[in-house]
Symmetry: C2
Subunit: 186 residues, 2 copies
């Protein structure tokens, strides 16, 4: 059975997008990022992806994900309202819109992933639900060298007791991106 990995990119002050909702400042290095070891490793180990409706909607044309998204695996989109038009799929990349919560999304993703990992794309709400439900085994946070000063916080109102982590690895990536891998102590 694979692990459930919560992955996210944030500014050093904890924001995953800026005041206008744009993630662009945090992904100015996207082309270079795809060539880095942590992302290559993640792509290789990931058997299914869970993302929130916002991450899905961020793709300008969801039909293009089928051929181009980093993760060519089954994708489980947590949403209250599936889109009217089911986006294009391939044999590898399929979409399942999950309307009954994060536990269900992770459970379905685990089944799809088999021995591989489930990667949860940590836009804020999905990440928070995943942490609150105690479903993540690892937390992978990329810190970008900037203070966004406003926007959506990755870790907001968790309403939980403290969570201990164990640092597994730190990797300095191009463009000042620092990749921190933690095991979540349960």
């Amino acid at each position: 059975m694979g692990k459930v990995i919560l992955g996210a990119t944030m500014s050093i002050d904890g924001f995953i997008n800026d005041q206008s909702g744009s993630v662009q400042a945090l992904y100015s290095d996207l082309a270079a990022l795809r060539e880095t070891e942590p992302l290559k490793e993640s792509i290789q180990n990931t058997g299914a992806v869970v993302m929130g409706r916002n991450s899905f909607a961020m793709a300008e044309d969801p039909d293009l994900l089928a051929g181009n998204y980093e993760y060519q695996v089954p994708i489980f989109v947590l949403t209250h309202q599936p889109p009217e038009k089911h986006p294009k799929e391939t044999d590898a990349l399929t979409f399942t819109f999950v309307t009954d919560g994060i536990e269900s999304a992770i459970r379905q993703a685990k089944t799809a992933a088999g021995d591989k990992d489930v990667t949860v794309i940590g836009a804020a709400s999905t990440a928070q639900q995943c942490l609150r439900a105690g479903l993540a085994d690892e937390l992978h946070v990329d810190i970008m060298p900037m203070l966004l000063c406003a926007g959506l916080r990755l870790f907001e109102d968790l309403g939980m007791e403290q969570i201990q982590l164990e640092r597994m690895q730190v990797t300095e990536l191009p463009a000042g991106r620092t990749h921190l891998k933690f095991r979540i102590v349960k």
Copy 2:
């Protein structure tokens, strides 16, 4: 002329103390920390320290700072109300209580530091004032491997535009502490 370095320790979710105001969870490694290169280097390069009233009050007995505090240098305490009893001093460690704001505290500390650096102990309010006033040259953040989930945030309500940083160095310290050094791009 030395630099102004804003230093702080926070959990990965950005808190500098827990719900009860305690910093203990973030400094369980204090004894080991004193033996680490980044702190030794900071002690060697620091000619004066600026701290807020809360950091000062955190010393159980301020009189003990004179002999034991890591930084045996002039200390400038930003406060609205100097304590009634001036704490004990030595030739090296003196206290100046600054009541006319962060600019004044940094200016006085720079004079005292001469060619050496001014280290600003980044409890939240002091750090925020220092960033807002554009007075810091570098930001040194230690990230501890935990989600505190509540407490006081290091970066809160800055009310500023984005601030670009340049990653200078990343050091993995014991107890899962990760030291990130950034230059503040002005």
